[in-house]
Symmetry: C2
């Protein structure tokens, strides 16, 4: 070049702030050099793959080789706002991967790819972000999915709550699978893969809001491998759903409405961890309305119920699986519970707000 | 049924709060009845389609009919945190759709589906949410994409900033298209689709932070249709990218690094709206570092540059398109600007933070 180079001009900027190595500052959301350094330092080493490494605002990915003949995409999204960010049995990183992997899987699809959008509050310790991303990496490896696109924004202190993570997921549904909330039929059997309410109580315990100690661990887990095994054992499965926000009762109400059936539960058969039962009784909670993050409701024709239950129990995330009820024709859209003393209670959808908020 | 029905029990809840019809309350994030009512009242009427109406935690969608032979998926995500939520020329709803439609489109892919994750702050006026979703509906219709999965969370007052929206997008890339930041080659021509810095100045003006009035409108727009036209006129296009956060200078630095080339700009040719230029001069901003939300950088072989420019200028979003520079071999990874007085300035990536934050 024959032109004279004027010394580097770095644009209309403030000096790089102090402390930007050990906590999030506004500049990490600038889109400029600090954002790039954050990505290089925190995200890429842990979420590296061909699509991410290309460094574009999009990830290019392939569908499975056997998918090009017939089938559909399945898409889901979930934002995660849990407090505290780390709790017994899990953290927001594991939650953000498992939640979306599970939502995609409830269609019977094989989850393949995730996107991750981070909203960081100024002042978030860098170490917490690093541990969160490490946890996402481990959960994604366990589930066998790749994070192929990401985004990071930073909000001023007091305009966020430490860290929010949104994930979206994409899966492949082989042709012929029809599993959703509208497929429950009278005569079907209702199974659940394990104890109810563990996640919610673990989070409240971690916040110190129970007023006593508990050793309850969150159940947060990716359920996709267990589901693919289940669909081999019980290929005519009608409904799969994870009872997250609103708990088992709210989720079954959604299914009863979508399928226009009655779901009938036996209280005696509902698996609840003794510590969750004790905490709920002391605080006036009902475990049937408390969030789970690694549990599966299975509604299956009676002829396949036994092999479905046996299959769940062979899986590490289904050891406490139980047959909890059945599907009847009427009253349509209702969930009924036969209580331990032989009465019948209508289990309605969660109304108003459940306090304290868990997610 | 022969069992006695005990009157409806609605779970362990607080009474439904006052004002929940005209503003967001914590119960709207419960996952129970209030969440369902919010979805029924605000989201479904505006974002309705087969996948959403099915009422599952996932949306099932098809790929285009001609896609089953060869090609790839393209995936992207973006979180939107703009303040104020409504500004001249756009709002957070339009932004959240266009941002992700554009990111997917920068690969040359046809965007098909979006997911939307809402993080609402307690107290958000219901009317603002409604207008935002209406704006998303209009932008999605313009772009020709469907929102096929959604999620809503509510955070306590003071733990958010009114409304954050994350969108993720999925598109289909026909086989043979190879457009990304690593494809720029010496000899290529650099085009931009219009004036620089409009979005950032419009947002600052709406905040009252300029200290004077301006009639600058945000350029927020979906660019996918213009890009598909461009790729017919200039099928060997090497790079497409939208200069959002960090502005033109930061985006071109990314490309120069990815492609290991030098990008050489002519300051005289850079289109800047006179009002943006005036505001920038008064405040010490550089329009080359200010965010755009409806602009496109095109890097194309010289042989196709004229038809590419003509094609852009025929589009409503490309009327002010200009040829702004060229790609050279050295110095690699650098962006250089020949100034109006004939000197040469190194345009570096945005360092530190740009104040005030725009996105």
């Amino acid at each position: 070049m024959d032109e004279t180079l004027i010394p580097t001009y770095e644009g209309p900027v403030c000096p790089v702030p102090l402390h930007h190595e050990d906590q999030i500052v506004i500049g990490h959301g600038s889109g400029g050099r600090m954002t790039h350094e954050l990505i290089q330092r925190i995200f890429l080493p842990r979420l590296s793959n061909e699509a991410i490494l290309a460094g574009n605002d999009f990830g290019q990915v392939d569908l499975p080789e056997d998918s090009h003949l017939a089938g559909r995409l399945v898409v889901s999204t979930d934002s995660h706002i849990v407090k505290p960010l780390f709790f017994p049995g899990g953290d927001i990183g594991r939650l953000s991967v498992c939640g979306t992997v599970n939502d995609v899987s409830m269609s019977g699809a094989v989850p393949l790819y995730l996107t991750a959008g981070f909203i960081l509050e100024e002042g978030l310790p860098m170490d917490m972000l690093k541990k969160t991303v490490e946890s996402m990496q481990a959960a994604a490896a366990e589930a066998g999915v790749q994070v192929v696109a990401g985004d990071t924004k930073v909000v001023e202190k007091g305009k966020g709550d430490g860290l929010f993570i949104n994930t979206a997921g994409i899966g492949w549904l082989p042709e012929g699978r029809q599993i959703d909330g509208a497929q429950a039929r009278a005569g079907d059997v209702v199974l659940v893969s394990g104890t109810l309410g563990d996640h919610g109580i673990a989070v409240l315990g971690a916040r110190g809001e129970l007023g006593f100690e508990t050793d309850v661990q969150s159940d947060v887990a990716p359920l996709n491998h267990m589901i693919q095994e289940l669909l081999k054992a019980a290929p005519h499965t009608h409904v799969l759903r994870d009872p997250t926000r609103g708990g088992l009762a709210t989720t079954l109400n959604e299914i009863a409405t979508q399928s226009s059936v009655c779901i009938w539960l036996e209280e005696n058969n509902l698996p609840v961890h003794p510590a969750v039962r004790a905490a709920s009784e002391m605080l006036g909670f009902d475990p049937l309305y408390i969030a789970n993050e690694g549990k599966l409701i299975v509604i299956v024709p009676a002829a396949e119920a036994s092999q479905a239950l046996a299959c769940l129990r062979q899986n590490v995330y289904g050891r406490n699986a139980a047959r909890i009820g059945e599907v009847r024709s009427d009253p349509k859209g209702r969930v009924l519970l036969r209580t331990q003393i032989g009465g019948t209670r209508i289990l309605d959808m969660l109304a108003g707000e459940m306090l304290p908020r868990i997610c």
